[in-house]
Each structure stands twice: as C-alpha cells, then as structure tokens.
Amino acid sequence: MRFSDHKKTQIVASLQSFLMRCLYAVIMLMAVLVLNFSMMHLAPGDVADTISQSMGGADQEILDQIRADYGLDQPFLVQLGRYMGNVLQFDLGYSFFYNAPVTDLILQRLPATLLLVFTAQILALFIGVVLGVISARKPNGIASHFVTILALFGYSAPVFWTGILLLIGFSLKIQIFPVAGMQDVTIEGGFWVHFLDIARHLVLPVITLGSIFLALYSRLSRATMMEVLGSDYVRTAKAKGLSQNQVVYKHALKNSLSPVITLAGLQFSAVISGAVLVEAVFSWPGLGTLAFQSIIARDTPTILGILFFSALVVIVGNLLTDLALRLVDPRVGGKG
C-alpha cells in the first residue's frame, strides 16, 4: 500500500467531515423550507388572488373553489406536513399558478440560467484576473486607472440600467444583437446555426451580468496581487534573478488566486439573485424570471422548489470551490 496509516486516517477524517457537512446541509435545507413556507403563509392573500387577477376577477365562490382544489383551505400545519412529506420523497409538488409539476418547470428553466451565469462568471473571472494583474504591476499606470473606473462603474451601475443601455446601443442604434429571448424560433438549420443563434442572444445578457462579477474580480485580484508582490518570497525570487514575468506568473499569481476563487465560490449563490434582473430585462427564459414571477404570483410550491434547487447549487458550488482551492494551495484542507 502506498498510503501510510497517517494518510488513511486523514482520508477517513476528511470523509467524515464531508458527510457531516452533507448532513448539516440537509438539515439546513429543511429549516430553510419550513421557514419559507411559514413566511409565505404569514403574508396576507394567496395564490387564489393572483389566479383571479390573471383571469380579470373572480367571485368568492371561484376563489373558494381554487383554494379547495389546491388544499389551501386546510390548516397551516396540515399543509406544511403534506409539503414536507412530499419533499422528503423528492416530490417538489405541483405549481398552482402554472398547472405543471414544479420539477418540470425548474428543469425547463435551469439550463438557460446555468448557461448565462456560468458564461458570465467564467469570462468575468478570466478577464478580471488578467486586468487585476496588469494593473497591479503598474498601480499608477493608465491601465490601473482604467480598471478602477471599470470596476466602479460595473459595481455601481444598476444591472437593469446597464441592460437597457446596451439594448438601446446594440439592438436599436446598431442592430447587431437581438432584444430578447434565448433563441430565434424562426431560424432553421443544423446544430451550428442554433449554436451561433444562442451565442448571439447570449452576448448582451452576459456583458450585463458579467460587469458586476468583473468589477469584483478585477478589484480583488489587483489588491491581492499587489500584496503578494510586496511579500518576502517575491523579493527572494527577484533576488535570485528571475524575470519580472516569471515572478508574476509562476510565483505570485497562484498565491493571489485563493481569495479570488473563494469569492467566485461565494458568487454561486448569485445564480438566482444576480440573474433575476438581467433575465427580466432580456426576457431570458431562466430560473430567475421564474422565481420572480412565482413570488409575484404567490406560487408557494414553485418558490420553495427554486429555493431548494438554488440551495443545492450553492452546496455543490462550495464543494467545487474547496476542490479548486486545494489545487492552487495545497495547505487548504490539511489539518493544521
């Protein structure tokens, strides 16, 4: 065996801690669901009102009928018990507003959101780090000021404003990108035609959403890079005669990445929250739009289902972040 006893116990220990984390996550998830269910219940009015709104009004008889159909006339604890029981059997229930199983609704919308958020995240991460490094090397240069302004703008401009501005610029004045949606249904052709079509639709939403992330990553990587460049081992590396590029990209970059990756991991939780407004502006058929509309419609099963999914995404995202951190910094994860 290649593993020493020490290594084995270490693996067992990290496996244990992993399982504990999973257990905590499940408990957390249940607590989130109960809490949200209760809060939804506390608010005055319910989905019967929004259904009647979508129908141009309904009398009391119809409202009562809708409530009876969806079990909303039952006592709170009965409703809660029923819901939790279903969730434990991995059944997220039936959307009152859309007349469709919640799981189907979410799975229909999830790919669009993942496509948008991941593209924006990855591009922002890459460009942000590059910009951060460039500006860290010459903190008073033009590039550095440019990054500062870009970051300030990206972080402070409301996304719906950026989005509309981009639409006016690149869909109306210069008509190169489409206004809304994820694909043009009138286009016919093979895989690549559709691929290019979706890519074209993706550009403006990705720039809009990416501008927030870009601001975060470029600022953070600039700051950490400057800190690392001032540290002892960098001075040592320089002293032993390495070129500036070698110092920056071989030694400093890896160490400056840890905080950026941690931040990127945290941003996974922005899958829903960050995408809502961007999706609304560009009519992107994703989870954010669904979440927003379900909240407006008081469609409790759908809202809870989306929360359930986003919690899962956050948990998986955090695990992936851990893995990535271990890759760039072997000290992470080891005991002590």
Partner: protein, 524 residues
C-alpha cells in the same frame, strides 16, 4: 434636369402609394407573424381561463359561435346563423356544417353543449351563462340554449374569447370541474380555431400554425404565428422599433406609446379595446367614515383634476371616461356630471358635510394601490386633496394579494383600481355596483355601494331585449353612479396596439387580440 427628376420622383411616389394601396386591398397568403405577450401564459384553454394574455392564443386555438364587427354588430362565425325566440328564452345556433377540430373530428352541437357546461363550471365570469339552464341538441348542427330569463348579454358572451368551443372527446374524460387543470390545456391542444398549437414553452413563446381544414375557405392568411413572451415593456418597445416584432397589443406606458408613435413604419393605435373595456378609477369605501357621505365623495371628485391625470400622467394617451362603462361601448353615456376641477365647490361641500378646517386639516384618509404602475395617480390624489385640506396617507402593498386582501375585506378608504368591462355591462360592470355583490373578493362591489334604484336598473337592463330601451336604462344607471360617486371614474387605461407597416388588417375590432386573427396578413 432638376424638374424632371422631381417629376420622376413624384411619379414613383404615386406608383408606390398606389401599389401600396392595392396590396392593402388584397390579403396575401403565407408568412410568419412575430408578435408578443406581455406576461406569462397560465393556461391556453380560454374556456376555463379568462384574461387578456390567454385571450390572444385562446381565440386563435378555439372558435366561438359569433364574432363582432367594429360597429358592435354580431357576425356569423362557428354559428352560420342564430335565432332568438320572441320571449327571449331560447337561442338557437345553427352551426356551420364543415367545421372540424384540429384532429379532424367534426364539431357538433354536442361540443357546444359540453363547452357551455365547462365554462359555467370553471370560468370566473358566472354572469355570462348563469341564465342558461340547458343546451339541447336536436341535431348535430343545431344547439338550442334554454334560458331561465331573457339574457341579451349572451350575444357578446358568445363571441371573442368568452365562449371557446372545446372538443368533448378530449376534455370530457373526467369531471367537468377538473377541466381547468386538464393536461391537454397546454400541450397537444385540440382546438376549433384557425390556428393549431405547435409549441408552448412556458416563459418563452407560444407558436401556432395554420389549420388547413379551418371551416372558412382560404383562411387564415398567415402560415404561422410566433407569440414571444417579453415581460419588460422597454425591451418590447425596442423590439418593435428594430423590427423584431411585427405587432403587439396592450402597451400601456404613456412614455413608450408616445415614443413609438414617432417611429417611422410603426402604427400605434388605441383602437381594439372597446369590448374589453379597461378602466382606471378612484374607488371609495362608502361604508365608513367621512366617505359614507356623498358630499365628501363629490368634494374629492371636484378636487382631483382629471385633466392633470389625462394630460400630465397619461400624457394624452388615455381618454376621459365618466362612468363604469367604457367610452367605446354603445351603452356609454358621457352626458353626466364631469367633475371638472373646482376647489371652491369641493371646500363648500366639505363644509356642508360638517368637516371644517381644524388645525389645517379637515380629515385624514388613506389611499391604497395594488401595483407600482398606478403609484403616480395615487401620489397625485394625495397632493390634490391636500389643496382642500384633506390629509391622505399612501399605503403601499407588498404585492397584489396583499392589496386584494385589503380590498376584499373593505379595509381601505380610497384606492386606485383598474377594472375591465369584458363585453356586455352584465359581465363586467354590474359587479362593481350591485348591492348583492358587496365585497366578495377583489373587483366585486368593494365600495360597499348600495342603491335600490341602481340595483333595479341593472336587473331590468339585464333582461331587456330591446337595445334602445336597454341603452336608456343604462343611461339612467350611469347618471346615478356619476351623481353618487362610489367610484370616481377618471380615464380609460391607455392600452395601445402597435404594428408595423408590414402587417395588413391587424385586429382592431371591439375584441382586439381576443378575437381570431384569421384575416390578418403580412404584406411581404
């Protein structure tokens, strides 16, 4: 040289305008119309789901017995003719004989009887078919509606999106009450209308294609309709402007309407909303506090400047509406008190009612609103009433259900409200003023208004078959309503239809897009 060029240009202009005219005359077959829905569709089956968003796809998928022309005259559709008995108690529909559902099954009187049953059980507008006791089917193409009392509102209720004929062999497989959650409402829809469903992707689009066996020869003209779902009004505006959308309805933001009016190649029109009859108004809770006094309600109406609402807030896109009936309806009577701004009269009325100014204030009221779009109106009312020393507190609601709950429990003084006529006054107007309908959910008589003569007038108008007498009854009704102001009627909702020059014959009839667009075509 210059002259010749000018002459040539003129000649060219004349020819193009002439050919343009000729094109407008003769509809062209084919093409894909790209249009838009402003919010998500809950249900495509218009027999069980009302509302303007379902109306557009619903009226394409499902045919109704009648359709209406621009003059509010019923025209044959699925029924080639109809007779109303002298006592008004039986309405006989003679169906066209060649009509088929999208799966090829013939449409028969059995389906009409079934559809009426489904609508009665599931549709929110109970008053449409309440007097219909039974539907007899003497033969496959004759349906007889037996009524408990004369019901002139039935005519409009048999048109547009209100009486969708659905196939019994598809939807009749379970309980009648379960049709509203039938799986075939949103997929594999088998309809009776000019277009059949290709694809419905929630939150993305509804795609319809021409039904080749439609019962009117040569129609529809369009091969395909793509209804994109774009909820953001600003994004929709850009899409009209850059040509991504051919047409769209229910645009209501004054700023956007006025901007689009200036765009070359687009037409923006308020036509097409007469039957839907969308109205904005200031509702008053007549059951408690100072507002129980009609003089206070009148004073408020005199103090709120309607012209400010029409010109400043609505920027000239909405029209004056003085009663609960939409100005485009043949039953509308504008010959009532208009409540032009008169602060002195308002103050005098408040003094008379026993609310003198004490410490700079006569009284404190609250005003509610249910959605952000009407916040300007609410803020304006607060400012306007300050001028007659009434303090108004604006109460925002977190969302629609919160507001609906307050309305349903009559927990309000003033509220901004938006209500639709939905065709005949019996369907969408009576509910607001009928004393037997006090506070039964939102958009009932949440004002708690009760007047025996008004109740009587509505009851008489509901069964009056003579249109002239009916109009007279509604005129008196509107007179009283305007005089007693349970609601201060201010303006129509400025819904506009936007369409590009490429669209021929857009749906601008009384039902707008809640009607089949089998006559709409694309010019190129």
């Amino acid at each position: 040289m210059n002259k010749i060029l000018k002459g040539l240009a003129l000649a060219a202009a004349v020819t193009t305008s002439l050919t343009g005219f000729a094109q407008a005359e003769e509809p062209k077959q084919g093409g894909t119309l790209i249009t838009v829905l402003g919010s998500n569709v809950r249900n495509l089956n218009s027999a069980v789901q009302s509302g303007i968003v379902t109306g557009f796809p619903g009226a394409q998928l499902f045919a109704s017995p009648l359709r209406y022309d621009e003059d509010w005259t019923p025209q044959p559709y699925l029924a080639q003719s109809w007779e109303i008995s002298d006592d008004g108690l039986t309405v006989t529909l003679n169906l066209v004989t060649n009509a088929k559902f999208h799966d090829g099954t013939p449409i028969t009187s059995e389906d009409v009887a079934f559809s009426v049953e489904v609508i009665k059980e599931n549709h929110p507008f109970k008053s449409m078919f309440a007097p219909v006791e039974s539907v007899s089917t003497p033969d496959a193409h004759t349906a007889v509606l037996n009524l408990s009392k004369p019901h002139p509102a039935l005519m409009l209720a048999m048109s547009g999106q209100l009486m969708s004929i659905i196939p019994k062999h598809i939807y009749g497989d379970g309980a009648i009450g379960d049709v509203k959650t039938h799986p075939r409402n949103n997929e594999n829809v088998v309809g009776s209308g000019p277009f059949k469903l290709t694809e419905f992707k929630n939150g993305e689009h509804v795609i319809l294609e021409r039904f080749d066996d439609f019962f009117i020869d040569g129609r529809p003209y369009l091969d395909r309709i793509v209804m994109r779902i774009i909820t953001d009004p600003a994004a929709r505006a850009i899409a009209y402007e850059n040509g991504e959308l051919h047409m769209g309805a229910f645009e209501s933001l004054p700023r956007i309407i006025n901007r689009l009016k200036k765009v070359e190649g687009l037409t923006v029109t308020p036509d097409g909303y007469g039957a839907i009859g969308p109205l904005d108004w200031l509702a008053m809770n007549t059951t408690k506090g100072p507002l129980a006094d009609v003089r206070v309600r009148k004073a408020i109406a005199y103090a709120v400047d309607k012209n400010f609402i029409l010109n400043a807030l609505m920027q000239g896109t909405a029209s004056d509406s003085r009663t609960g009936i939409h100005p485009d309806s043949p039953f509308y009577s504008g010959d009532v008190e208009a409540y032009d701004l008169d602060l002195e009269k308002a103050a005098a009325l408040l003094d008379e009612a026993g609310y003198p100014v004490k410490d700079g204030s006569r009284m404190s009221l609250t005003i509610d609103f249910g959605w952000p779009g009407v916040k300007p109106q609410v803020e304006y009312v607060k400012a306007a009433l300050k001028k007659v020393d009434i303090d108004v507190e604006v109460r925002a609601s977190a969302d629609f259900p919160t507001w609906a709950k307050r309305m349903g429990e009559m927990d309000f003084d003033l509220s901004w409200d938006t209500v639709f006529n939905w065709g005949d006054p019996v369907i969408g107007v009576h509910r607001t003023y009928d004393s037997s309908n006090i506070a039964k959910g939102v958009w009932s008589n949440t004002q708690g208004y009760s007047n025996a003569r008004v109740d009587e007038l509505m009851a008489m108008a509901a069964v009056e078959s003579d249109p002239v007498k009916r109009t007279a009854l509604y005129a008196e009704f509107q007179q009283i309503i305007a005089d007693e102001v349970p609601v201060y009627h201010t303006n129509t909702i400025p819904y506009h239809t936007v369409y590009s020059d490429k669209v021929g014959n857009p749906p601008l009839g009384i039902w707008g897009t809640s009607t089949p667009i089998d006559m709409t075509y694309l010019k190129e």
